[in-house]
């Protein structure tokens, strides 16, 4: 009997892993790689200890730890699929206990699917997913306690612990307990959550309850949150719990109980198909792929990807033109969108850190180093100053400028990572070594782009700035590529 149970669990997890892997592969195969652009795990005891002490710090560190592996697209897809599968399984286990029925196999997939859709939002923070997983573990452990009083003590401790470890998810924990069993004690976790949030407000950890006790707390601050997508996993979870309780307490028509599996299958399939269309922005997914390819300087693949897409999006066009510039084809194959002019080369409006990161790349390709550094710095600020992608850019630009102490500071951070220490080892010999920088084919060439005569970036327009750079360093071909494209616009 135990053996059958374990076998069922194993099959359940495997099937849901395959499901989420397939969905990721088909609809958003660069979502997790793109997540890694903004965060990674730093193997620094002091930093880890500091982070762990903060509200939600543990889940943040867990998310960082997993995100470091997302640098490999396949690893990101698989790891996330396993996490979502485990979440689905834990949800199913809890639901089964609540509903007194183990026939609700598929219902638990719904909130996990909703969670999967949130992953595709650029500003979603993966600790939200870790938080849900921790919450489910706490819930299922709670269900194993038979003694009422021990369970109550556990609930109080788990509420406090969950808030400290994972932050806002404590509210879902409290709501789950309230929905699962409406009793006076069920309000305790609710009250404790608000008390803890109040303490956090008092000490300035956050500014409002929305970021302390709701899914909004798992999104990058300062960027608009799509509330529907943000709340969906929480609401669906509570909804399926309500369904489970309904099945347990009320009479259900026989035709429903007979066709329960079939009904669940319809629900899950419909939500998968409809949700993938409604909640996964394919243009955004293409942008993520292009950005990943640009970051890795796989210019021919960028061009190929753009050729396979409808080029009606300025951001795509920016990426394509950057790739064309880098491969010295921009003068001949400059891509324009009807009605757009210079924005085909670089958008003017910086809507978010994700756009300013792209702008930093484009300026870097142009050889306009000061602007590239500026954009990278601004982007990095919004990513708590530890975006690996931006740190790499800042290291390079500071080496180009000869600001070796600042470059070293950033290198010391990246050196504490698993995936970037080799990259750092390549650049570290250039510290305090002008000759080494100048001998480097990339950095040496970029250093020659630094204007011999200083000017303010706003005092000359971009065209004149590029003309100065191109005149000073004709060897930096992509600058003249961009200029040729600009002249075509005149």
């Amino acid at each position: 009997m135990e053996g059958k149970k374990h076998l069922f669990s194993f099959i359940y997890i495997v099937i849901t892993t395959v499901l989420f892997s397939a969905l990721s592969f088909v609809f958003c195969n660069h979502t997790y790689t793109y997540m890694e652009h903004w965060r990674t795990f730093f193997y620094d005891a002091t930093y880890l200890f500091e982070q762990a002490q903060q509200v939600g710090g543990f889940s943040r560190l867990m998310a960082d730890f997993l995100c470091q592996f997302f640098i490999h697209p396949a690893a990101g897809i698989l790891i996330n699929a396993i996490i979502l599968a485990l979440i689905t399984f834990e949800m199913h286990v809890y639901l089964s206990r609540i509903a007194w029925s183990n026939r609700l196999y598929l219902l638990a997939i719904l909130p996990a699917l909703a969670l999967f859709y949130t992953h595709t939002r650029n500003n979603y923070l993966y600790e939200g997913t870790i938080g849900i997983f921790l919450m489910l573990i706490c819930l299922n452990l709670r269900q194993k306690i038979s003694n009422k009083y021990v369970r109550r003590v556990y609930t109080i401790i788990a509420t406090i612990l969950l808030y400290w470890l994972a932050g806002p998810i404590v509210m879902l924990f409290a709501l789950t307990i309230l929905v699962s069993r409406f009793s006076p004690f069920a309000f305790f976790p609710f009250a404790i959550s608000f008390l803890l949030a109040g303490i956090s407000l008092r000490f300035g950890h956050q500014g409002d309850l929305l970021h302390l006790l709701s899914p909004h707390g798992y999104y990058v601050i300062g960027i608009a949150v799509n509330s529907t997508i943000a709340w969906m996993p929480w609401i669906l979870w509570l909804a399926i719990l309500s369904i489970g309780l309904t099945i347990r307490h009320y009479w259900i028509p026989q035709w429903i109980t007979k066709n329960l599996i079939f009904i669940q299958l319809i629900l899950v399939t419909s939500f998968t198909i409809a949700g993938s269309k409604m909640y996964i922005d394919q243009k955004n997914e293409t942008f993520k792929k292009l950005q990943t390819l640009c970051r890795e300087e796989r210019w021919n693949e960028v061009i190929q990807e753009c050729n396979n897409n409808t080029m009606d999006n300025l951001l795509f066009v920016n990426c394509l033109n950057q790739a064309l510039a880098e491969t010295h084809q921009l003068d001949k194959k400059f891509k324009r969108i009807r009605g757009a002019s210079y924005e085909c080369l670089m958008v003017e409006y910086v809507a978010s850190a994700y756009i300013s990161a792209m702008i930093s790349d484009i300026y870097y390709s142009m050889g306009y180093i000061s602007q590239s550094q500026l954009s990278a710095f601004e982007t990095n600020q919004q990513m708590h100053n530890l975006s690996p992608r931006m740190l790499q850019r800042l290291i390079k630009t500071n080496l180009i400028y000869g600001e070796y102490r600042v470059a070293e500071k950033y290198m010391n951070w990246l050196d504490k990572t698993y995936y970037y220490s080799d990259w750092v080892a390549h650049y570290r010999p250039m510290l305090y070594n002008d000759q080494a920088v100048e001998n480097d084919p990339e950095l040496g060439n970029k250093r020659c782009c630094l204007p011999k005569e200083d000017f303010f970036t706003g005092s000359v327009n971009k065209i004149e700035a590029l003309e100065r750079i191109a005149k000073q360093n004709p060897a930096h071909k992509s600058t003249s590529q961009y200029l040729d494209a600009i002249y075509q616009l005149r």
């Binding site: 601050i221 970036t457 706003g458």
Partner: protein
Amino acid sequence: MKRIAPLICLSLPLLIACSQSAQQATSLNEDAPIAPDYKDVTLPCNMAPVHFGLADSCVYEEAQAIFSTPQKETIIASNHGSFDISFGQWKELIHSSNEINVRIQVKRKGEWLEFAPFSLYISPDSIDSHLAYRLIEPGYEYWYEMGLYQRNLENYEERSIINNRQTNNGCMNCHSFHQNNPDEMLFHLRKEFGGTYMVREGEVEKLPTGQNDIPSSLVYPYWHPSGRYVAFSTNQTKQVFHTTNKNRIEVFDYSSDVIVYDIENKKVIKTNDISGAGHFETFPSFSPDGKTLYFCSADSLKMPDCYDSLRYSLCAVPFDAATGSIGTPVDTLYNSNTDGGSISFPRVTPDGKRLVFTKASYGTFSIWHRDADLYELNLTTREIIPLDTLNSNEVESYHSFSSNGRWMVFSSRRIDGMYTRPFITHVDGNGNYSKPFPVPQSDAHYYDRLMKSYNIPEFIKGEVGTGSTKMLKVIRN
């Protein structure tokens, strides 16, 4: 005995690990490469212990620091590259002597070597218990997270006074305290809850800026010693970015004027001398007796074209607190047009004898000028000297004094040229400055890791008593 022996054997490794001893070491005759550099500094008697480590370039297998006084010796083994003396050990040392001798010993290839010893001097002068500052990334156009913080200098605790997660990510700046009093402060918010806020004895009030001739944006506040007036500057500020200049950023004013705000009557006091059309007036401060208003003044030039020709002189006008009037004439204490350079942040020492200011070769915002240094003007003899003990090859700027006038904190970017750190120096009765040191942190590598700059460090005599919750009630209304 049979029962005790295993216990002794088990405890022995522990005992050995705990008891360090000074090694017979060969003298290296070179300075210990410690970071932060606390060699031969003068420390307040009530400050948290200094933690430091050996520079990354220093190669060793083991290391230890021997802190000794004539009565006491404490040996601290290197802990992941740093020597973290405990509070208890530190207290015992400073109580036994006002000079602590420190020897650093390192083991290389089995041989112990010793660097040249240095001293830590413990001053009987205490320092104000807290330091308030803003933490923000160094520069650029946008901001993300920032806040006003207070650090307990007697331990390592840092707490938020208010941060912008609480104000929808707006900008907050220009915090200032009336005579180092944590219960009387001002700060400024921009964007959604924009305005100047005053905290007094637990009550929070938004100043009626933008009404009744009171300018809407008041910056660079300086309290009159009476607490009734605050001098402000009103500026139209712009930030631009260099392409090649090592200074990276240039911040200048298109216009600026100095005004004095009467808190009691809620009105503005100004004259043409401090708010003239043909000049940029900024960075006001009062003398400790409140009878003089100091400020910086430059001929108004076309900006940004003439950014490197802009030079601020140091001026002073009489101020009558009883009548709330600004007198004449304007005394030019330093004429930048004839003597060169550009002055900012004039601050008179609490004893009223000297004035410390920042001087750069040109411009307004000295923190972005790598040549900015600290200077001192003797208010009696009018002699000006550079404070060479405090200056470095990088920017030294914003400075302020402790309530007893014995300590000065200032901003410096000497560590890496980019991130501003607070440095403290002791000022003796004769106006001599000791070697500055960075504010001690629990983690010796803290400044290497921190990705934010310290802005406007100000000593305060205690913790800010008014909580952010109370501030936010007024702010959000």
